[in-house]
Amino acid sequence: MTTFLDILLYMQIALSGVCLYRIIRGPSIPDRMVAIDIFGILVVGICAIISIQTERSFILDIGIAWIILSFIGTLTLAKYLSGKKLNE
């Protein structure tokens, strides 16, 4: 039986598929980076909805760790884009 929460979860997964389309098709390198950043935030929403469905709290830990790793990765890629070395 599918509940209303299942439909919201499937919608969220479809939206991250939209981000994958932009990662594959993006005309320039920064387009792909923007889509990867947004994809990371959408995955946190998927983790939150799954934690309601399964009534377990450790899935939210995965979401928090994903936010922090995505933040560090995006900052590193932005530093690389602006043409500086990583130790400046």
């Binding site: 320039s28 390198i29 935030i41 946190v44 929403g45 939150a48 934690s51 933040f71 900052l75 932005a78």
Partner: protein, 105 residues
Amino acid sequence: MASLLFICIGVLFNLLGCIGIIRLPDVYNRLQAATKCVTLGTCSILIGVLFHFGFNDAGIKALIAIPILFFASTVAAHALIRGTYHFGVKLSDKTVKDDYKDAAK
């Protein structure tokens, strides 16, 4: 029931942000549409999780994730778009004003 309402609002905001990713013409427009809508929508989903669990361990984890998400995603978007401008991506043809052109040199 309130948790379902907040999660529904959040998924709606995420939908609008992803329409922005597909439809808008260049990378600056895409980032400014997507990062605002998706950050607000995911924070709304986490508020829904807090309403569902109450103040036990899972609810407190969702409450902690909200400020981390706000600061991390906005700072990352700002750094990313500054790097994109220095990388030399052209603006869209319909852009009427570019205030950052003088400050970037």
